[in-house]
């Protein structure tokens, strides 16, 4: 039985987090849980501690990428074999985690839970602008990596140990990290696949996107994707970085 860590990045999620942790504890007690409080100003980390899970508390807000990277580093140092990225807002179903983990046993490095793959379902509204942006991203990703993903921005993902080793250092820290991470993993030669999952509406908190900001972030992401992921030197740098960290524990 591989050791599995559920990583939950949480930024001011006191509304929904306790229910999520309770559900995880009841339905999937075999997994360890780490909540990364991303500079939360509310009782997020306090409630997580009360629930008895591991809690890493970032001193200020790093964005979801930084929170995830913290979680991946924890998983690597804690000797976990695999990890799952899980939302604090109640969108993800604990019972779907096993389904997400299954392809890892067959050699996948990263598994994406897709709302739009055959057999998946969305039980909440996706706004028009968002849908169009998602389509655009899907096409762009297909062009960049030559593989089709139906839900590039899904935050429900499973990672193998080699993937964790890689992402503990290289995980993108800009907003829209999930798409960039996907392209990064594919380009670095990791085996990425997707499985259909159901996602529910949020139980608390608001979607973090305002319309204009969303457009800005999409534009920024396009620039980052096209420039950085097609740069061989950048990839070489990341590899080098990875080895430096392996050798010296993070010193430059």
């Amino acid at each position: 039985m591989p050791r599995t860590l559920i990583v939950i990045p949480a930024y001011n999620e006191e509304q929904s987090l306790p229910a999520v942790l309770k559900e995880l504890a009841e339905q999937t007690p075999e997994y360890d849980v780490l909540v990364v409080s991303d500079g939360s100003a509310d009782r997020t980390s306090e409630l997580a501690r009360e629930a008895g899970v591991h809690v890493a508390e970032l001193p200020f807000n790093l964005g979801i990428g930084g929170a995830l990277r913290t979680g991946f580093t924890f998983a690597v140092r804690g000797g976990y074999d695999q990890a799952v990225q899980f939302d604090a807002d109640g969108q993800h179903d604990p019972l779907a985690v096993a389904k997400l983990l299954a392809p890892l046993a067959d050699g996948a490095d990263m598994v994406i839970g897709s709302r739009f793959a055959q057999g998946g379902a969305v039980t909440y509204e996706v706004s028009g602008i968002r849908r169009r942006a998602m389509k655009l991203l899907q096409r762009l990703v297909r062009r960049l990596v030559g593989q089709d993903f139906t839900d590039t921005s899904s935050g429900f993902r499973a990672f193998s140990r080699p993937m964790l080793d890689f992402f503990a250092v290289t995980y993108p820290v800009e907003y829209m990290d999930s798409v960039e991470a996907l392209v990064l993993a594919c380009n670095a030669g990791f085996h990425v696949t997707e499985v259909p999952v159901n996602m529910r509406g949020r139980t608390g908190g608001a979607p973090s996107n305002r319309r204009l900001r969303l457009v800005y972030y999409y534009v920024r992401l396009l620039v980052v994707l096209v420039v950085s992921t097609t740069s061989r030197r950048e990839q070489a740098r990341r590899h080098e970085l990875r080895h430096t960290v392996d050798d010296t524990g993070g010193n430059e």
Binding site: V36, R49, H54, V55, A56, E57, L58, P59, F60, L62, G66, R69, T70, T73, F74, R77, V173, G250
Partner: protein, 123 residues
């Protein structure tokens, strides 16, 4: 250029250089920047003392209005400098981020090792 203007430019250049020296001596400017700013101060001084240099350079490049040459150089320099600062800032952000991550993980480790002191007032 009138004699008065000439003196004024020289005084200004000297003031800039003096200010740079003060900053470097009091260690408020890192060495790598002090070299940069000293070169700039030196350039200013040379131009202040020999303003005809600017005219000569402008002639060589076919620029009719010598102050435009100065503006071009100044703007290029500032552009490069701002770009450099952006780069430096990105690097600093990366390092701060890594520190924050390490801090969170170390604190987690510490709290789990000392459960009785971790709740509430440890923060």
């Amino acid at each position: 250029m009138s004699a008065a203007a000439h003196v004024l430019v020289i005084v200004l250049a000297a003031a800039v250089i003096a200010f740079i020296v003060v900053l470097v001596r009091s260690r408020r400017l890192r060495a790598k920047y002090s070299v940069l700013w000293f070169s700039i101060g030196l350039g200013l001084a040379v131009l202040a003392i020999f303003p005809d240099l600017l005219v000569w350079v402008s002639d060589r490049f076919g620029i009719d209005y010598p102050p435009a040459t100065f503006m071009l150089l100044a703007l290029s320099f500032l552009l490069v400098l701002v770009l450099h600062f952006s780069w430096e800032l990105s690097r600093l952000e990366d390092r701060t981020r890594t520190l924050a991550e390490e801090y969170a993980l170390l604190r987690l480790q510490l709290e789990e090792r000392l459960p009785e002191t971790s709740d509430g007032d440890a923060a």
